[in-house]
Subunit: 358 residues, 2 copies
Amino acid sequence: MRKGILERYQEFLPLTEKTPLITLFEGETPLIRAEKLSEELELDLYLKWEGANPTGSFKDRGMVVAIAKAKEEGSRAVMCASTGNTSASAAAYAAKMGLKCYVIVPHQHIALGKMSQAVMYGAEVLAIQGNFDQALAIVREITEEYPITLVNSVNPYRIEGQKTAAFEVCEQLGEAPDILAIPVGNAGNISAYWKGFVEFRQAGKSGKLPQMWGFEAEGAAAIVRGEPILQPETIATAIRIGNPASWRTAVQAAQESGGAIDSVTDEEILEAYRKLARLEGVFCEPASAASVAGAIKMRAQGKWPSGLKVVCVLTGNGLKDPTTALESVEVKPKVIPCEKKAVLDVIKAEEGLCHETV
Amino acid sequence: MRKGILERYQEFLPLTEKTPLITLFEGETPLIRAEKLSEELELDLYLKWEGANPTGSFKDRGMVVAIAKAKEEGSRAVMCASTGNTSASAAAYAAKMGLKCYVIVPHQHIALGKMSQAVMYGAEVLAIQGNFDQALAIVREITEEYPITLVNSVNPYRIEGQKTAAFEVCEQLGEAPDILAIPVGNAGNISAYWKGFVEFRQAGKSGKLPQMWGFEAEGAAAIVRGEPILQPETIATAIRIGNPASWRTAVQAAQESGGAIDSVTDEEILEAYRKLARLEGVFCEPASAASVAGAIKMRAQGKWPSGLKVVCVLTGNGLKDPTTALESVEVKPKVIPCEKKAVLDVIKAEEGLCHETV
């Protein structure tokens, strides 16, 4: 039934007859109509649910290409810097292909779930006392000098794989949307989606192009501010990046498409994060909610007219960061004795439905 | 591209024209060939990867049916007892449908990720000072007396939805496998798979039936021991159940199919859990690994001949329980200074590949 992206989109990818067509069944992720948010925002709003990928984030699309090519080229080890999602993905595909994997992450700024993934998949995890941008600088140097393949998104195969999400959006809607809203961290994904939309139209598979709107976290909004940020800070650890590697192509995507790069605050991110779970039943990671926070902000500011067809990319699964989830809700689980009466007391004390019915 | 299970398997489900065809895109989960474990165990081994479901476990298949029927029947609130996966799923679908959701979980015996899901999806979470079996007894009583729909697997719609996984296995392999191996906790899922295989064959969509092999955790192996266990204990919290609600149908499934219910130790579970991640790139939750631990045990004991086509069900995503993951690995992340030399020192100190190449 399902195929991996190497098989499904072979004609659009830089594969040869020697490329191993590996897969963990990345891609074919759901496009979910956000019924309640559509109504609230007066938009035709869809969620591209990338948390359904094998390691729970969009990174798997690019990583399967990067790891297959590394294997094809005879590499025996790969390395990346990561805020967590890239390392999980690299570790999983490296395990599948029998490659050694080194990941460098910022100490104490990686979500618990992501750390558990990298170690379980058997990667060598090095937590540096520094941030993502410093980690990336180090792995760039090392992979230039030693026979280890760099699998960050500066590896061009990563962007090639990631662009397939744009193909799927077009296939799922029957056409490109009016607007594609997406979180911006290292800025590779917005560049990849734009490449995907452009190539799909060139191939005659879609008739139009969307506006590309990228949203950085305010405390890490280098592109919006126009200069690198030495100490980026945001609760959205996946986009806690102060010097995006794909800065230029991201700006180009926004400009060419008639969109923009903007920013959202941590409060706006957390509000969108909770709404997605409570209204739509979709639990994404905080960084993912930046796309929906952006849509809410643009509507409030009147920058997007009502009625537009908007796809918000939800880049990763909320299970990757259970700590932030539990800290972000006001209502905590109640610990009660093991008896029927204690349960009934809570229900009866509640307002609304159960007050009436019980 | 993708459909939910209500649409895909309508003819096999108890739907009416009034049932809302809701979906969070449950089902259509990958069947992954376990290349390395197949070789190691001399089996043709596949993994039914239920962690790819919307809330990260197989529970979504049954819950979408239970919640759609609750809505159809005019219910405004649902309730369940849960070791964590059922509560996550109930909370998500209740949120999607605008129903109030109460979940009763055993205090301090629910994995971190699962707790974060239930609270984020907006359920009222009550942690009782007791275990799952006690929680189930309480919710059974309350839902009999008050107008709240019980959505545990004693709700027959749950089993109806869960049986669709068996349909998919037949479709993905082109036929039922020789053996279906599955973790057993409350014993609803093995019953559901068996029902699915039987119905699919009756409908002429598959030609044979598999042997059903269920594996309990040794510290909670009520069926194997032949009596309820008052204080079940296992690291696999999802199957920490001492008095399975679907005991009878599970035994029947095993007997009718020529299979059996057996048990595996926590050590065997953790070993399979690590192997799945490190060899196959699949990170499941501990309870899920009971199916693979069972396969390893049966092969070691010579109970299964080599060459059989075996499907092991991996019931849930490893991200639901990051704590157990981090505690179960020997190699911890290394914290190092933010400099190239520190990274190189680690790589150079390693044996094998990088010692040679660096």
